[in-house]
């Protein structure tokens, strides 16, 4: 029912956008949570963008770039869509960016396609999103991209039996599937698959069950914050480490809550695309730029680097194509650069970054005394392994 007016509006916007192509100010609308329980994402996005502009200036080629921020709260596709529409139509932005949650990103697919506005997704990590619009680009990662290499690594370490424990919701089940498929394809056995209620914070029963089964490793996927904190504690307290059951995770040891995990986190293994402890000049420059923002700088984690690389990509697109959406996408596909996470390339097919996945272990940095994800090796350089066209 709403399609016709939207198409009409999109047509009007197209006219406006075309009229703007010669103007030298390019506006980017960032839709992310800036209030509520997930406000940290918004803060990290904004700080990464401010840090990028502080070090790279506000000009890309002949164009001046400015960012507009809109607060989408939590998982709220209707609000995300109406804010994005408002940005395109009223604020006349040429690029949309941000989007923490999958439903929020999906809600703007039609808008992006009809108004030919490139959307640079900084976070939302479900593979299927990018199939919904050719104007979607993603500078984060996808769950299969990190889960499957972790399974390969575990097998290479001699681990043959694994129990998977995931939160019982979409991303958890995706992670379970990706891990199990890769692990059994190698010849390993997934002896039990436990799906834990999303709101749970008492993991002792699940981990005692795992312990009773006696696998060589336990794979875990949980949303960040309290559940992850409680799981890592329960893993240490229920003696799984002593029983020789290796912890295999992905984002569980992310930097914004890592210090809170304490010594119980030491030795946890995760496979992921970004660690703030990554040893490279690009990463040091990135960290220094964020720290340069002052005392209010939030901890840097994958969300920050997604926004930083997003800004990098937007600058490339604007420099090459200005306000022309189609040309901007063309310019983005195949782009390669050195990110704080390592070398990356925008895969022309899945429009997600091809990047290194690192195996990391939580250790205490002898100099700062803080916990960090020490990268012990690159286990794969992969694109979106979950991509199905």
């Amino acid at each position: 029912m709403s399609r016709k007016p939207l198409a009409a509006l999109a047509a009007v916007t197209l006219g406006l956008a075309a009229g703007q192509a010669t103007a030298d100010e390019i506006r980017v609308g960032v839709v992310a949570p800036f209030s509520g329980p997930f406000a940290l994402y918004g803060t990290q996005f904004r700080q990464a963008i401010e840090a990028w502009q502080a070090t790279h200036g506000t000009r890309a080629g002949d164009h001046e770039i400015s960012f507009v921020y809109k607060d989408s709260g939590g998982v709220n596709p209707d609000l995300a869509r109406s804010l994005s529409q408002e940005l395109v139509i009223r604020d006349r932005v040429d690029v949309l960016a941000g989007y923490v949650f999958t439903p929020n990103a999906l809600s703007v697919a039609q808008l992006a396609t009809q108004s030919e506005t490139p959307v640079v997704i900084f976070n939302a990590a479900t593979s299927a999103i990018n199939a919904e619009s050719p104007f979607f680009l993603r500078t984060s990662y996808t769950l299969p991209q990190v889960s499957a290499p972790l399974a390969d690594w575990a097998y290479a370490q001699g681990i043959r039996s694994v129990v998977t424990t995931v939160a019982d919701y979409g991303p958890g089940i995706d992670a379970e599937t990706a891990f199990s498929e890769a692990f059994t394809a190698r010849g390993g056995a997934v002896t039990d698959t436990i799906r834990m209620p999303l709101s749970t914070t008492d993991f002792a029963p699940f981990l005692q069950s795992v312990r009773a089964t006696g696998p060589e490793a336990v794979f875990v996927f949980l949303p960040g914050g309290p559940p992850t904190f409680a799981y890592a504690k329960a893993y240490a307290e229920n003696g799984l480490k002593e029983a020789g059951i290796t912890f295999l995770g992905t984002a569980e040891t992310e930097e914004s809550n890592l210090q809170a995990l304490g010594d119980g986190a030491l030795g946890l293994h995760t496979a992921y695309h970004y660690s703030a402890a990554h040893d490279s000049d690009a990463n040091r420059a990135f960290l220094a730029a964020v720290e340069g923002l002052g005392d209010d700088a939030a901890p840097v984690n994958w969300a920050s680097v997604g926004a930083w690389d997003g800004a990098d990509l937007i600058y490339r697109m604007v420099e090459a194509a200005g306000a022309d959406g189609r040309a901007a996408i063309e310019a983005a596909l195949g782009a390669e650069w050195e990110s704080p996470r390592g070398p990356v390339r925008m895969d022309p097919e899945s429009r997600t970054l091809v990047q290194n996945v690192y195996i990391r272990e939580v250790t205490r940095n002898p100099q700062t005394g803080l916990l960090e994800n020490a990268e012990t090796g690159i286990i794969a350089t992969v694109g979106d392994l979950g991509w199905k066209d």
């Binding site: 209620p197 709101s199 914050g225 809170a260």
Partner: protein, 287 residues
């Protein structure tokens, strides 16, 4: 056999944490009959103060816990005098609205002060080690929580059923005007009881933090949990809350062991069943 022991042990530990985080509400909402949705706010104050005392002031766990309880009471007493004294006279819906508003203020204040990340309270060595029970290990912290929960229920029973203060409180709650006419200073009784509720909230917030981690959104995340324990236990009965917390804790833990996918259903199923059969709760005094 081991499975049964596991269920009993983890269930009691989880139930006792539920009791500790909800007992403060059982005092303010159950005994004083004010629909205090800001209970989680006081628990959050306690957790945030303990985190601040431990991380920023460098105090140990026990001084930080004392600081959290005293600090929360110091904030709660003026609030009682200025805000709650008016709320007591409101209808139930107005009480809900007023106290939820207070919760949002506490959330915003803590968010502003400490940010939205987790606010951990580091445990001392004596509590963070694990105790070997032969068939499995158990964190010393859980044992401490079980003992503490038993101490709280015993202390409250003595205070409410066996002291003059308890008699006065029950009299003041049942009929304030007549209690007042008998020379009971009801304002002071209410203030002291409210302070007790806030102190218990802070205690629960800090001791429960291992299982229910504290962050700025703590009050909203666990509000339903607190309310269910008190509702199932029955308004006005601390012993009821105790029985409800243990019962719910053991049920959910058993479900987590036996049918992990269904654990949440089991928990809410029991709540619905109990409230359908006994709308006044397990040991409710008010019909």
């Amino acid at each position: 056999m081991t499975l049964l022991l596991n269920i009993a042990l983890d269930g009691i530990a989880y139930g006792m944490i539920l009791f500790l985080v909800a007992v403060g509400l059982s005092v303010t909402m159950g005994l004083m009959r004010v629909v205090n949705l800001a209970h989680g706010g006081f628990a959050l104050m306690g957790g945030a103060l303990a985190h601040w005392a431990g991380a920023d002031l460098g105090l140990g766990f026990w001084p930080a816990l004392a600081c959290a309880i005293l600090g929360t009471v110091a904030l709660a007493l003026p609030l009682e005098r200025l805000v709650y004294r008016r709320i007591y006279g409101f209808g139930e819906l107005q009480q809900v609205l007023a106290t939820i508003g207070l919760t949002f203020i506490v959330i915003a204040a803590v968010n502003r002060w400490q940010g939205s990340a987790l606010l951990p309270v580091p445990l001392p060595e004596t509590l963070s080690r694990t105790v070997d029970l032969g068939f499995r290990t158990l964190p010393a912290h859980r044992i401490a929580v079980i003992l503490c929960g038993l101490g709280v229920i015993l202390g409250l029973w003595l205070l409410l059923d066996r002291t003059r203060f308890g008699i006065r409180l029950r009299a003041a709650v049942d009929n304030r005007a007549i209690a007042s006419a008998h020379g009971i200073v009801t304002d002071r009784i209410y203030m002291a009881t409210f302070g007790l509720g806030a102190a218990l909230a802070a205690l629960g917030g800090v001791l429960g933090a291992e299982l229910l981690p504290v962050d700025a959104y703590y009050p909203l995340r666990y509000m339903v949990l607190f309310l269910m324990v008190v509702a199932v236990g029955g308004m006005g009965s601390v012993t009821g809350s105790f029985a409800a917390a243990l019962g719910l804790g053991i049920t959910e833990t058993a479900a987590r062991y036996l049918v992990p996918d269904m654990a949440t259903f089991a928990f809410y199923g029991i709540v619905i069943l109990v409230l359908a059969l006994r709308p006044q709760g397990l040991m409710g005094r008010i019909a």
